[in-house]
Structure formats: structure tokens, C-alpha cells
């Protein structure tokens, strides 16, 4: 087991990339510590599967290096890298039994049958597949098949890291929860590095210790779920995480303080803007806005019931500002004032946090 390091990685699927858009992965250097549970989160097309495949060896990067521990593996094929990968659609060998499916990677590596037997049974027990070992793999449900795919990765004792490429896509919702917990449990039991690609923030935030947020080929932020929520470094992270996402409002700067709605907005942190021509915005999550007697003037447009809270949509000029009011709280009917919590108000220049 070892640390995975990506140095100056850049990848394009075109043979002669010219412009920025031709690069599927823009320049990045990332370290993945040994035994960590990571999520790669981002919208479709942001490059997360590309990144995953580069780490696992199914894709060779156009530029940059991949290191496992002290060994450079950038050009090493996937079967030599001691990794396992679980794909979006269950990959099982239909003609074989569940037992033979799990044994397949070991048989290909000439492990003797006694070892294979107890290893397969051990993994099957971990995954609750013991009952079905002698059944034909093609007869299992989707979640059973994904467990087999996962199992094939776990049987190998030489596996450093396990990659997951949106593995719960085809699973029924009520089983998703069970499988997710299982994965977390497995991670604690076995301790391999696990990298989990998804576009679903709930999956990412519940599974991972560290989340890598990507957008358009760039790593936008790496942090724990709490960090991402409280201090999103990029407006995209603010949008994407949280439901509803962060409010992003265009603002101006006046003597180092952001100005919105004609009034200065308090922020706890210091604002440091280097580029005077940058596009400035304030970001604040609906959780940290409240109604007040004074502040930013808005008109109340809509109230949606979201269970324990109500999502209130208000309007200030052209901007829609959303805030959360606990169920039973007081919601003014037409005009009101909003107050932003200074601890959680961030300022962004060209989408990047500067406060």
C-alpha cells in the first residue's frame, strides 16, 4: 500500500490539442495519502473518469507523471499496478459461477487452489455473497453483480487502491444506501486507498474523508465535507454542494469591503483582491441568511416546504436570494430585509475565494 502522487498531470484525448478546451484534464498535481477514502466529485464531463483511469492505468497521460510510493508508474499497464476498479455497469463473467468469478483474478495469477478457496470465501462473507457462491453469476440482481465486481478487486492481496467509477448508478435507491454503508465498512476493515467517482454530492459527502471537486478538467478544491461546505474556495463548489446551493451575488468593492445592495456587507475575513478588473461576487449559503429589521431590501417571492425547513425565495433587483427558515418560523409576506452572517460570507474574484 502506498501513497499515490500525480505530478503536473495534463491530458488530452486529441492528438494535437491547441486550445484550452482540447484538454480533458488541465494541469494538476495531487497527492492521495495511503489508506484514504476519497471522492472525486463533479458534473458529467468534468474529467473525473479520465483522472480515475489515469490513476488506474487504463489511460496513459499526455503529460505529467503518476507515482505509486517511490515508483513511477505513468506508463505501466493497469494489470501491473496493483489496483482494482469497479465500473458503472456490473461486469461479471456470465458463464461462470459467483465463486469462479471471484477466483478469476487469482487463477490468472497462478495462485494455488487452496489459497483461492479460503480467500474467495473470506471475501464472499464480507460482502454477504456466501449464499450465492455456487450460483451462476448471470442470475444475480444488479447489486449482487456489483458486489461481485467489487469482490474481484478485494480477493487480490496485492491491491493498493480500489477505484470506483459511479458504481451505484444502476442500483435501486433503497439498496444504494446499504451498499454505500458496506463500502464505508469495508474501508474501515481493510484500509485500502479508495477513490470514488460520482456526480452525486450525497454519495461523495457520506463516503469520503476528503473530497476532490472537479470542474471542466480542473481540480477546484480538495477538502473534508465540512470544509467544502463552510469554506468553498470556488463558486462552483458553493453551487454544487448543498441543496439548495450557495447564493452568488455580483458586488463591488469599496475600500476593501464588499458592497451589495447599496450597503457594505460585513465579512469576518479580510478581503484581498489583486486584480482590480476582476469580477467580484459575494457567496453566502441559504443556511446563513436570516430575516432582520434592517439590511438588504428584498421582496418575498416564494416559499417551498422542504421538510424541516422552508426554502424562501426572495428577490433583490435582478438577483434571486434564497434562504432557509426553520419550519414554523416567521416569514414576512411581501417586503423584508435580509442579514448575512459575516462568518460565512465569502468574497470571490473571478470565481475564486479572496476572503
Amino acid at each position: 500500500m502506498s501513497k499515490i502522487t500525480l505530478k503536473n498531470l495534463r491530458h488530452s484525448y486529441l492528438s494535437h490539442p491547441q486550445r484550452d478546451e482540447d484538454w480533458a484534464l488541465k494541469e494538476m498535481s495531487v497527492e492521495w495519502s495511503d489508506g484514504g477514502a476519497y471522492a472525486l466529485l463533479g458534473p458529467s464531463g468534468c474529467g473525473k473518469t479520465t483522472l480515475l483511469n489515469i490513476i488506474s492505468g487504463l489511460v496513459t497521460p499526455t503529460q505529467g507523471e503518476v507515482w505509486f510510493g517511490d515508483v513511477e508508474v505513468s506508463h505501466l499497464p493497469a494489470d501491473k499496478r496493483n489496483i482494482a476498479q469497479v465500473f458503472q455497469f456490473p461486469v461479471v463473467y456470465d458463464t461462470m459461477t459467483v465463486f469462479d468469478n471471484l477466483a478469476f483474478p487469482l487463477r490468472n495469477r497462478d495462485v494455488n487452489e487452496t489459497d483461492i478457496d479460503w480467500k474467495v470465501r473470506e471475501i464472499a462473507a464480507m460482502l454477504d455473497l456466501s449464499e450465492t457462491l455456487m450460483k451462476r453469476a448471470s442470475g444475480l440482481t444488479a447489486d449482487g453483480k456489483q458486489k461481485i465486481s467489487l469482490g474481484r478487486g478485494l480477493v487480490r492481496s496485492d491491491v493498493n487502491a480500489i477505484m470506483f467509477d459511479e458504481p451505484l448508478t444502476v442500483i435501486d435507491p433503497h439498496l444504494k444506501w446499504i451498499l454505500r454503508s458496506k463500502l464505508k465498512e469495508l474501508h474501515q476493515q481493510i484500509g485500502n486507498t479508495m477513490i470514488y467517482v460520482t456526480h452525486d454530492q450525497t454519495e461523495a459527502l457520506t463516503f469520503a474523508d476528503q473530497v476532490v471537486v472537479m470542474q471542466e478538467g480542473e481540480v477546484v478544491q480538495i477538502g473534508s465535507p465540512v470544509e467544502l461546505f463552510e469554506r468553498p474556495q470556488h463558486t462552483f463548489v458553493g453551487h454544487f454542494i448543498g441543496s439548495p446551493g450557495m447564493n452568488v451575488l455580483a458586488c463591488e468593492l469599496d475600500q476593501g469591503q464588499p458592497v451589495y445592495g447599496g450597503a457594505t456587507v460585513e465579512t469576518t475575513g479580510k478581503v484581498a483582491v489583486e486584480d482590480p478588473t476582476a469580477r467580484l461576487e459575494i457567496g453566502i449559503r441559504p443556511e446563513f441568511i436570516s430575516f432582520a429589521d434592517d439590511g438588504i431590501a428584498v421582496s418575498v417571492e416564494k416559499v417551498s416546504d422542504a421538510g424541516r425547513v422552508n426554502i424562501v425565495e426572495t428577490r433583490h433587483g435582478d438577483d434571486v436570494i434564497k434562504l432557509l427558515v426553520p419550519d414554523g418560523g416567521n416569514v414576512p409576506s411581501e417586503n423584508a430585509f435580509l442579514k448575512f452572517d459575516p462568518d460565512h460570507t465569502q468574497v470571490y474574484a473571478n470565481d475564486w475565494m479572496v476572503s
Partner: protein, 288 residues
């Protein structure tokens, strides 16, 4: 998967098809059945003969001989064309400009009128003026398909392989392309060797397509007429007289309506039976 609505008015939609096909199928078949149980000496006078023609045909050496030849022929070409077609499909490029080029060239034999196929191979294999004939004789092997039964068989089989293997290739290729890349990637990570990949991933996924290919090749080779007829005329002698060729000789050549009709029905029934067996097996595979 069945979310169809029950709608008896659908019969109007299928009516034109039913009319056209029934016209071509039922009326002639009724005629054939009619002839198969009667005897005629001309002038449209018929005598009931019952199952006499069927007995005659089923007991006739001539019929046995041509049936045997047909079975041998079909067996040989299936054994060659199916594995060969799959093997070629496995080596074809998956994407890129070469794909269209390959597909276009490989499809060409399929669109040549069957008599031209026969004529082309006739010219190609003749000992003095044909490239193949000249080449084989040039190697010291005596080869003349108009005189030697073995040479006639060899040429006919080679012609059929040339003509129809592409069908198997195209079907198998399409089947292979439908296998998601994930399977190959997972197999790579599992450390599977190429033979294991073929056995455990490609072959199972090709099952449906292969069944169709085998079924089609069986049917079409069992009914083959024009190409061998133009190539060898059924000869030398009757060494390459397959079922259809024999039937046409009896029906249109000799105008023996009764025996021809009986033979037709037996012929049709054999084809239907084998197809039905295959179709059932295929459907059974689907349900699994």
C-alpha cells in the same frame, strides 16, 4: 417490456402484408399440396394418388443421394464459414478510417447477382483460362472441375466460402462492437489472457448473433441453387446436384408434377423443422 395496447384494428395495418405474402405463399403451396397427392397424364385430368408420391420420393435413391450431398455441403460450409467469419471479425479494427474500408470491400460479394457469382467462378477456375485453374495446374496438381467430382466440390465450396463468409463477419463484427469497453478494461485489470477474454467475454456475448448467422447460413445453403448450377450445372454427372437443383430438374425439366410437389413439401418441411428447433433454442437463450 410489453407495453403494447390491445387493438384489434391493428389488423388493418397488417392487411396489405398479409394479402401480398399469402398470395405468394398460400396459393402456390395449395397447388403444390394438390399436385403432391394426385397423378396427371396431361389435359388437366387428375387422379387421386394419396401418399404414393411421398413414398416414392422418400424411397428413391435419387432423392437420398441429393439429400446426402446437400447435407454434406451444408455441413462443410457451416464448419468453415462460421469459425472463419468470427476469426476475421476478431481481427478487424474497432474504429478509425479502416473500418469503413473493410466493411465496404467485405460486403461486395454479398451484392453480386448469384448467377454472376457462378459465372465469375466458372471463368476463374477453368483450367486453361482461369487464374485459379491455371495456378493450381501450374503447381503440378491436376485440376479440372468440369471433369473431376472432387475438384467440382472443392470449387463449389470455395465459391460459397468466398460468397458468404462476409455475412458471418459482418454479423460477428456488429456483435463484438456491442460489447461495452468496460468488460475489456475489467478483464485487463483481472489479468486475463486473450484466450480467456475470448472464451469468457466475447463468445458468450456473441451467442445471439452467432445463432442468427448459423441459422441464416444453414437455410440459405440448404436452398442453394443458382451459384452451383451456373458453376457446374450439377456435374460432372450429378456429383454436385444439390436438393434445389434436383428439384428444379424434376419440376421444370421433366414436368413431373407429382413427384416434384411431394419432394417440395418434404424439402420445405426439413427446412422448417431445423429452423424451428434453432428458433426455439434461440428464444430459450434469450429468456435465461
Amino acid at each position: 417490456m410489453d407495453n403494447k395496447t390491445t387493438h384489434q384494428k391493428a389488423w388493418f395495418f397488417v392487411l396489405p402484408v398479409v394479402v401480398l405474402v399469402a398470395f405468394n405463399a398460400i396459393i402456390p403451396l395449395m397447388t403444390v399440396v394438390n399436385y403432391s397427392v394426385q397423378e396427371t397424364f396431361g389435359d388437366n385430368v387428375f387422379f387421386w394418388e394419396g401418399v404414393k408420391w411421398f413414398e416414392d420420393v422418400l424411397n428413391s435413391d435419387r432423392f437420398h443421394a441429393s439429400l446426402l450431398r446437400q447435407l454434406m455441403f451444408t455441413g462443410i460450409i457451416l464448419a468453415i464459414e462460421v469459425p472463419l467469419g468470427v476469426a476475421i471479425a476478431l481481427t478487424m479494427p474497432k474504429k478509425g478510417p479502416w473500418v469503413s474500408v473493410c466493411l465496404v470491400f467485405m460486403a461486395m460479394p454479398l451484392l453480386i447477382p448469384w448467377n454472376v457469382v457462378g459465372a465469375m467462378w466458372n471463368i476463374f477456375a477453368l483450367p486453361d483460362i482461369g487464374l485459379l485453374g491455371h495456378a493450381i495446374n501450374g503447381m503440378g496438381i491436376e485440376y479440372n472441375f468440369t471433369r473431376q467430382p472432387f475438384a467440382a466440390w472443392f470449387t463449389t465450396v470455395l465459391m460459397d466460402v468466398w460468397h458468404w463468409t462476409s455475412l458471418v463477419v459482418l454479423l460477428a463484427y456488429a456483435g463484438l462492437r456491442s460489447i461495452p469497453e468496460d468488460y475489456y478494461q475489467a478483464a485487463k485489470i483481472d489479468g486475463a489472457k486473450p484466450w480467456a477474454v475470448f472464451l469468457h467475454i466475447q463468445l458468450p456475448k456473441l451467442k445471439r448473433v452467432l445463432t442468427i448467422a448459423i441459422l441464416l447460413r444453414f437455410m440459405d445453403s440448404f436452398m442453394i441453387y443458382t451459384e452451383p448450377f451456373v458453376l457446374t450445372g450439377g456435374g460432372p454427372g450429378n456429383s454436385t446436384t444439390f436438393l434445389s437443383i434436383d428439384l428444379v430438374k424434376v419440376a421444370l425439366g421433366q414436368f413431373d408434377l407429382g413427384p416434384a410437389a411431394a419432394m417440395s413439401l418434404i424439402y420445405f418441411l426439413i427446412v422448417l423443422l431445423v429452423c424451428w428447433v434453432f428458433y426455439t433454442l434461440m428464444m430459450k437463450n434469450e429468456d435465461q
